[in-house]
């Protein structure tokens, strides 16, 4: 197909694809799935951190956390807009989230149990997210690539704030340090799982790479994350909960253990510690907000009607 070949050539030449241009249906579908899943992750991702806003330990920490959660809602907004350029509405995407058809990042199905978890999410979860997202700034689809530029800038800010929470705590009381170690113990493996199983296991990967929707293999990114994070854990005086973790001089990186992929698939299947709570929280926010959204529409219609009624007289 010459049209498809021309499309692939543009991508290979590093050109950006824009909303009104022709694209293969598979390209569009893959992007819609990926961008909406990413948007849903931002929205659901407000919940584990939101869980600690009312219990933040200082006014400044409370303000920082509020700003962070607000940023996440903002990222959700950019991403829904980017997906909308591909012909799917925000309400449709919400419907898919609420019905369970669309996924969001499994990491948000883990609970935040102490204040250290707020630090750990910034450090590890945002850290892993950035690792995934930085290459997406060069994604072949223009609106998605541009949204990612903005998002990545804020995420790295969030990651530093998370690390800062943990720095303060490990320098604090023994109880605080214990909380940080406990948080690392619980968040380490789920963070590694954020990169997904080895690419061999994924059918979509090769095509996504060719389309420059995806630029690196899951294992490449996971290795990079481990190599970046382990020295930070050491700096914090923490021990990484992986007995197989060891510096490998030859490859210039760490060897590390295999995550428990059965847990990963359990969580994806809906059996994570908080799947039901997260989805219910979003669904009830949506359902209980129906009257609010309906009223805004009704008011706008009334206002239009009133304007129209005044017209002839003017």
């Amino acid at each position: 197909d010459p049209v498809e070949r021309a499309f692939q050539e543009r991508i290979d030449a590093g050109q950006k694809i824009e909303p009104k241009e022709w694209m293969p249906e598979g390209y569009r579908k893959t992007l819609v799935r990926q961008i909406s899943q990413h948007a849903h992750s931002e929205i659901v991702g407000q919940l584990p951190e939101g869980n600690w806003i009312t219990r933040a330990p200082t006014l400044e920490r409370k303000a920082i956390l509020l700003a962070k959660v607000q940023d996440e809602a903002g990222h959700g907004l950019y991403l829904y807009c980017a997906a909308e350029t591909l012909g799917v509405s925000r309400d449709e995407m919400y419907g898919q989230l609420h019905s369970g058809k669309a996924k969001y990042s499994s990491i948000f199905n883990y609970p935040t149990l102490t204040w250290a978890d707020i630090g750990a999410i910034g450090w590890l979860v945002d850290g892993a997210a950035i690792m995934n997202q930085v290459p997406l700034q060069r994604c072949s689809y223009g609106p998605y690539a541009r949204a990612m530029v903005r998002i990545c800038k804020e995420e790295s800010f969030h990651q530093r704030q998370g690390f800062d929470i943990l720095m303060k705590m490990v320098k604090g009381t023994p109880q605080q340090k214990a909380m940080v170690q406990d948080a690392l113990n619980r968040w380490w493996w789920p963070s590694l799982m954020m990169f997904g199983p080895s690419d061999g296991a994924s059918v979509h990967s090769a095509q996504s790479m060719a389309w420059k929707i995806k630029q690196n293999s899951n294992d490449e990114l996971r290795q990079k994350f481990v190599d970046q994070t382990v020295p930070q854990a050491e700096y914090l005086g923490l021990s990484v909960p992986d007995p197989e973790l060891k510096w490998n001089e030859n490859k210039g990186g760490y060897d590390f253990g295999e995550p428990d992929w059965s847990e990963f698939f359990d969580v994806i299947a809906g059996n994570g510690p908080c799947n039901a709570e997260r989805l219910n929280a979003r669904k009830s926010a949506w359902d209980e907000g129906a009257w609010f959204r309906d009223a805004l529409v009704a008011h706008a219609e009334k206002a239009d009607a009133r304007r129209a009624a005044r017209m002839p007289a003017e």
Partner: protein, 259 residues
């Protein structure tokens, strides 16, 4: 240009006043922050977080100044996280439960309309430090009011259901608005020194803003009946206790830890 006259008013009176202003921002900020991730629309989630954020920022300034003037070596955080319920000085209005989003927005509007009047008056305070904080805060609060007023109008004049919800919210909150305009001896002293407006002086402006918005919202302004009070002198509702158990838990559970 306003000049510092902090010596002309009793330190305790000034501290009490700043605590009242600061506690209003703190407790309302807390309440609004409870919405995080649970708003009825994404834009609303963002806006609510923004209001909460502004209010927590204002808390830092007001309670910071209160602590400084008090001169007992306490910080804004100490005031927020280590005081007992009866030492809080916020209006009862701001500790009312969120209810549905209509009730939250109505509470916000009734408070914002007063808050902006108050801050605008404080911009002319003879105490330069107060005037400076008011200058900054009033810009934020002008935006809060614009937003809450607009939504009260749209929801009041929306569907039948939204109209009823907004009227119920208004009727339920009305008896908590009177406390904003009741002054005591300290307020009189502050007014005399030009540090802060007399609470009663804000009533006419508030009435006007509220009456106009309610009319446009097709909502019926409740008759002025019994008005609850107590928050300004530390006698709160049962709700504040639960707010504080959550808000203060970490500071209480790990005394002296830094975060």
């Amino acid at each position: 240009m306003a000049t510092a006259t902090d010596t002309t008013v009793d330190k305790a009176v000034l501290t009490e006043f700043l605590t009242r202003v600061g506690d209003n921002a703190l407790i309302l900020g807390h309440r609004v922050s409870e919405w995080c991730g649970h708003g009825p629309a994404l834009e609303e989630d963002i806006a609510l977080a923004n209001v909460a954020l502004d209010l927590i920022g204002q808390t830092q300034l007001w309670l910071g100044l209160a602590a400084e003037i008090e001169g007992k070596g306490r910080s804004a955080d100490d005031l927020a996280f280590l005081r007992d319920g009866f030492d809080f000085r916020n209006l009862l209005l701001v500790e009312r439960p969120n209810g549905d989003i209509g009730q939250t927005l109505m509470r916000q509007f009734l408070f914002d309309a007063w808050h902006l009047q108050m801050l605008n008056a404080l911009k002319g305070s003879t105490d330069r430090r107060i005037a400076e904080i008011a200058e900054k805060a009033s810009k934020e609060v002008a935006y809060h009011l614009e937003r809450s007023r607009d939504l009260v109008i749209r929801l009041g004049d929306g569907t039948d259901e939204s109209h009823h919800r907004m009227q119920a919210a208004l009727d339920g909150l009305w008896a908590y608005t009177g406390e904003m305009f009741v002054g005591d001896a300290g307020d009189a002293a502050l007014a005399a020194a030009g540090v802060a407006p007399h609470p009663e002086s804000l009533k006419a402006g508030w009435d006007e803003i509220v009456a106009e918005a309610l009319a446009e919202a097709t909502l019926k302004k409740p008759a002025d009946g019994y008005m609850h009070k107590g928050g300004k002198r530390g006698v709160h509702s049962e709700h504040l206790g639960f707010i504080l158990t959550e808000m203060q838990f970490l500071q209480r559970a790990y005394p002296g830890a830094t975060w």
